[in-house]
Structure formats: structure tokens, C-alpha cells
């Protein structure tokens, strides 16, 4: 039973074999594969590009695309788990060595990991649940010139439109504020920001 830090589950033998097969690649091939992998991690929506790059690699290096894809699937388990557990460069390297990957490959991979870690963790945080996320705010302010009751008025008003993400769709919320309310709102938001700044 392997003691791994990036996952508590027992890895199937096929996955462990895939990791050990990494040793069959030479330095240049391993560097390219690592690059393709991290490109995908940094832009998870580009699945087609990822598969395309893998097919190209397979073609250039005289191997079949299918087993290569399975290998990469196994390999992806490591960065996903490490991101979840906030593993350091050394911990990632340790896990790779435990899995039987050679020292210099483990070194290279964990270095790439620490290089890309800030962006990757930001992406993971960005995927964290947000309730009624504010997506956009539009505003306009103007002066009321007259009404049906008062021929001449000169009141300033501020209108806000907030666009809120509710699940997959967005909802618009409209509201109007008087000037004193606006200044109060601004003041409260500045206090909230100051409070947030304390924590970062």
C-alpha cells in the first residue's frame, strides 16, 4: 500500500503502471508531455486542444494515441489531488518518487508544479461556490425635472442595475438611491473593503 499525499484512495495497478511508464520517455519527450499537461491544467476548457496535442505527440514519437491518453488521465490525478490538498513542491516530488518515477523526472515535474501553482490555485478558488454572485453593475444618475404634482423639481437620483448570477442564468435587480443613501452605500462598501483588506 503506497503512502501518498495527494490522495487517500488506493490507486489501481494500471494507474501505478502508467506512472512508472513515464520513465520510458527521454528527457525531451517528458518535458513536452509536462508542458502539454500544464497547458491543459491552466486552461481546463481547452480539452480539444489537449487531445489534439496528445495525438500530435503520439504521431511524432511513434506511439499509439489511445494508451498515451490513458497515461495522461492517470497523470492528471496527481496535480488535481495536490491542488486540493495544497501540496508543496517537495511533497509532489516525494509522491512521484513513491510512485516509482525517476529522480530527474520527479524533479522537473515538481518544479513545473511550483512554477504554475499560484495560477492553478487561483483557478481552483475561482471554481469555489459563490451564491448570487455579482456579475455586473450599471449605474446612471440624473436630475428629476418635474412631476405631475410638482412642475419644477431639482432632485438628484442615482439608479443602479445589478446583474446577479443565479445558477446558470442572470437576474437583473434595479433600484434607486437618493444622494444621502448613495453616500452611505459608498461608505459601507469602503468599510467592507477595509475589512477584506485586513485579511489579505
Amino acid at each position: 500500500m503506497l503512502q501518498l499525499q495527494f490522495t487517500k484512495d488506493t490507486l489501481p495497478d494500471s494507474v501505478i503502471n502508467d506512472f512508472q511508464n513515464l520513465n520510458k520517455f527521454n528527457e525531451q519527450q517528458f518535458t513536452s508531455l509536462t508542458e502539454i499537461l500544464f497547458n491543459f491544467l491552466l486552461e481546463p476548457k481547452e480539452a480539444d486542444r489537449f487531445l489534439h496535442q496528445l495525438s500530435e505527440f503520439a504521431g511524432e514519437n511513434g506511439m499509439s494515441a489511445g494508451p498515451l491518453r490513458n497515461l495522461m488521465k492517470s497523470l492528471l490525478l496527481l496535480p488535481h489531488g495536490s491542488l486540493k490538498k495544497n501540496l508543496t513542491e517537495d511533497q509532489v516530488k516525494e509522491d512521484l518518487l513513491t510512485l516509482g518515477v525517476s529522480e530527474d523526472k520527479a524533479d522537473h515535474f515538481s518544479q513545473q508544479w511550483s512554477l504554475h501553482y499560484p495560477v492553478l490555485s487561483r483557478l481552483a478558488v475561482g471554481q469555489t461556490l459563490m451564491v448570487n454572485q455579482l456579475v455586473d453593475m450599471e449605474w446612471k444618475f440624473g436630475v428629476t425635472v418635474g412631476t405631475s404634482e410638482l412642475q419644477k423639481v431639482g432632485n438628484t437620483f442615482l439608479q443602479l442595475k445589478l446583474v446577479i448570477r443565479k445558477g446558470n442564468s442572470t437576474e437583473n435587480v434595479y433600484m434607486e438611491l437618493t444622494l444621502p443613501q448613495f453616500y452611505n452605500f459608498l461608505h459601507e462598501m469602503e468599510r467592507a473593503k477595509a475589512s477584506m483588506d485586513c485579511f489579505s
Binding site: 459563490m130 452611505n184 485579511f199
Partner: protein, 197 residues
């Protein structure tokens, strides 16, 4: 809005039957709200106070309502501006009394008209809270601050007093809050430019 006519002024002369100046004052105040001219209850109680028929009372209320709204609409603030509206044959002391009462009530009436005007839902209340996200399914340990803002808005297009109070809670990340404050700051700058002119 109906224009003031001679019939209105002849109805106003019924006020000479009022028991006291305070009764006149009360009547002016009661006839201002928008539902007053249609209210039979008000007409009947007025008829009782002045010992006139209900029809005459109703006409009186309509006349007071039209006069007060005319004064408010054109923002007549000087006594001369109001006195000039009355026909020459109108009872002088009653004319002065009505003018005085109308001027007294103009500021609160104006404020009431301003607060009742149509608008988008008004912000009634606003609260905020800053939370710290410590874990999620995608990252098991993190320290990300987030801001929750809760706003209560009242839709004033509903009947006064029963405005539908709806509530919205919005979550903002630090970046969103910064961008929002940016926008709000620009509004403030524009407001001070306008105010400075």
C-alpha cells in the same frame, strides 16, 4: 389636473360656515390627499361640521383639493401669488385665511409629493458582512475573504404603506468589490463636479 374655476371659488365660500379657523385648517389638510375628492366619508363628516348637504361638501373638498394642488404644482410661495387667484368678490378674511393655511402646509405637502413620486424600487436598507472561506470541494484549505451584501428594496408603485419589500443578497469577491468601489468613486467625483458648478 383640473384647473381652478369660478365654481370652485363659490364652493370655497361655504367655509364661511365653519365653526372655527382650526376647522378650516383641518379641512384643508384632509382634502389634500389624492383620494380625498372621491371619499364619501370625508364629504359626510364635512357636511356635518359645516351643516351643509353632502353634495355641497363634496364640491368644497374638490375645490380645496384643486386649489392646493395648483399651488403646489406651480410652487406658489408668496401670498400675493395665491391671493391673485381668487376672484375680486371673494370674502377678504376667508381669502387671507385660506392663503395662510395653504402656505403653511406647502413644505410638508411638497415633501410628501416628492416622496410619493414614481421611481424605480427604493433602497430601504443595506447590510454587509465579510466572511472567510476556509475550505471547498475544489480546495481543501484556503483563506479567501468574500463579502456578502444584503439589500432591501421597496417597490413604491404598490399602494403606499403596503410596498412590496423584496430582498436580495449578493456575494462579491475582492476583485468585484474593488471594481464596484471604482465605479462608485467615479459617481462621487461626477457628483462633486456637478455640485461645484
Amino acid at each position: 389636473m383640473a384647473a381652478i374655476s369660478d365654481e370652485h371659488f363659490s364652493s370655497l365660500q361655504i367655509l364661511l360656515k365653519a365653526p372655527s379657523k382650526d376647522a378650516v385648517r383641518q379641512l384643508c389638510a384632509d382634502s389634500f390627499p389624492s383620494g380625498a375628492p372621491e371619499s364619501w366619508r370625508l364629504a359626510e363628516s364635512t357636511a356635518g361640521t359645516l351643516s351643509v348637504s353632502a353634495i355641497e361638501a363634496k364640491e368644497l373638498i374638490a375645490a380645496l383639493h384643486t386649489l392646493s394642488h395648483h399651488i403646489l404644482f406651480h410652487n406658489l410661495t408668496a401670498p400675493e401669488q395665491i391671493l391673485v387667484l381668487f376672484p375680486k368678490s371673494f370674502h377678504p378674511s376667508l381669502k387671507n385665511l385660506i392663503t395662510k393655511i395653504m402656505l403653511e402646509h406647502s413644505p410638508p405637502w411638497r415633501n410628501e409629493a416628492l416622496s410619493n413620486q414614481i421611481s424605480l424600487p427604493h433602497l430601504v436598507e443595506m447590510d454587509w458582512r465579510v466572511d472567510m472561506k476556509t475550505a471547498s470541494d475544489s480546495v481543501s484549505r484556503m483563506a479567501v475573504p468574500t463579502c456578502l451584501v444584503h439589500m432591501k428594496v421597496e417597490d413604491s408603485s404598490c399602494l403606499r404603506g403596503s410596498g412590496a419589500l423584496s430582498s436580495v443578497t449578493v456575494e462579491l469577491s475582492k476583485e468585484t468589490l474593488d471594481t464596484m468601489l471604482d465605479g462608485l468613486g467615479r459617481i462621487r467625483d461626477q457628483l462633486s463636479v456637478v455640485a461645484g458648478k
